[in-house]
Amino acid sequence: MIAYRAGAPIRAAQFFADVDRVAHALGGARHVLNTCVDRYHFAVGFAATLCRGKVNLLPPAQTPEAVRQIVSLAPDVVCLTDEPEQELPLPRVLYPPDEAPGETAAATVPEIDAARHAADVFTSGSTGTPLAHRKSWGGLTGGVREMARQLGLSAQTPCVIVATVPPQHMFGLESSVLLALCNGHALCAERPFFPADIAAVLGSVPRPRLLITTPVHLRALLAAEVALPPIDLIVSSTAPLAPQLALEAEQRFDTRVLEIYGSTETGAIACRRPTHTLEWRSWPGIALSQQGEATSVQGGHIEQPTRLPDLLEITASGRFLLHGRLTDLVNIAGKRSSLAYLNHQLNSIPGVEDGAFFQVDESRLAHTGVARLAACVVAPQLDAPRLLEALRRRIDAVFLPRPLLFVAQLPRNATGKLPAEALRALATARG
């Protein structure tokens, strides 16, 4: 079994037949932006793209502005979508209608060269231009094989993966799609959102069940008074999981909670069980090296030495503690961006004379996994609804500023810099 939809199994032969159909529908373009909402459709599209020797593009967001930037980097890109009403400004290939199961003969499993350029995963970059991170098929599968080993998953006892995260970013791709395709597990086509949805999807599939989620969803699941069917393992990523939240989840759902650390550039590279230790253990074969505050990783599935965006304290060989962000990266509910990118977008809006995003409340982040951004802006000709509307076309809605403060001027110091403290003081004064 390679997947489930509405509790009904989808066999591998069906999957390969679907990959073949979608591969033919993709046409001549070399780059594919896969926005399929149904996780099975996404997986078929990803594999079809790969089998046709094309490259999967995973942008940091699907806003019109982010898509425009992707088009400028890969002008021949087409969008594979399963939503007929989707309106991104680029040529569209509609996912073909699903075929009734059971009609397919055994299909041949395509062989993909490990060196094949499988995907470009983008970070938002710091100057307003997205940065592509090239992933080879061997690099992706090597990382996911190690992830399976570290999570204690074996192909001998295949599990069913239910995920609340989308497959269109690195963690979602690895944990909810590639873990199934490459390691003998099965994915669920659904992406449940509300606690009652998560319970229903879990209940529709056999054990062992693996729930891939984020601190935001885990917190909602605990707060909701919904009875969950047994979960054999919960894996959280995308933001730090408070140990008390992990403990509560382990006790309530009578399971283990593991947490994964990684980045868009490297994929998953370490894990820990937050109820046992704060220390992360990196995948075997990955070497951590430090220069000043920066930590670089190389070896294992990592294709080239990469500097991590976080401040790490190496405690022993292959073990480390995380001490927050080193850069201006922001991560809200699994959506990634950087303050520099958001500032660039804000200041590109006609009528904005000056403007800056900033983080307001870090303690809330640690507590709930969600901390919103605030912004100060000098834009005498604009009002809040118009400015927010312009921002919404450029950045993902989770980054929209709360609050958005209109000021006469920004609290720049003598060198033109904006001390975070001065910005926060402004926000507090208004609050």
Binding site: A196, A224, L388
Partner: protein, 101 residues
């Protein structure tokens, strides 16, 4: 239909709908820490995207407070989610129809 179930299913009077609208608006403003008063939420304006400008994390938060207060478990696939969160008015209608407390 038994008498025990019937009271929950009867259409609410306009007065109680108005009262519930303010109550739910207050829940939303408090849960999301919005910079407006409950009365400032237009009951017919979309909650998502344009309009009130909420996103999926907010909707999850609203679903939590609504389930705690009214015993209504929201489902993305069961009911038409876009419709329920189409406006405060529709959310209130949904709560009236499905509340268990």
């Amino acid at each position: 239909m038994s008498d025990k179930v019937a009271p929950l299913r009867q259409p609410a009077s306009p007065a109680s709908t108005d009262a519930l609208t303010i109550e739910v608006a207050t829940l939303i403003v408090e849960a999301l820490n919005l910079e407006l008063t409950p009365a400032e939420i237009d009951p017919h304006q979309p909650l998502y995207g344009e309009g009130l400008g909420l996103d999926s994390i907010d909707i999850l938060e609203i679903a939590l407070v609504v389930s705690k207060r009214y015993g209504v478990q929201l489902r993305a696939d069961g009911e038409d989610n876009q419709r329920i969160f189409g406006s405060l008015h529709r959310l209130v209608e949904y709560i009236i129809e499905h509340r268990t407390k």
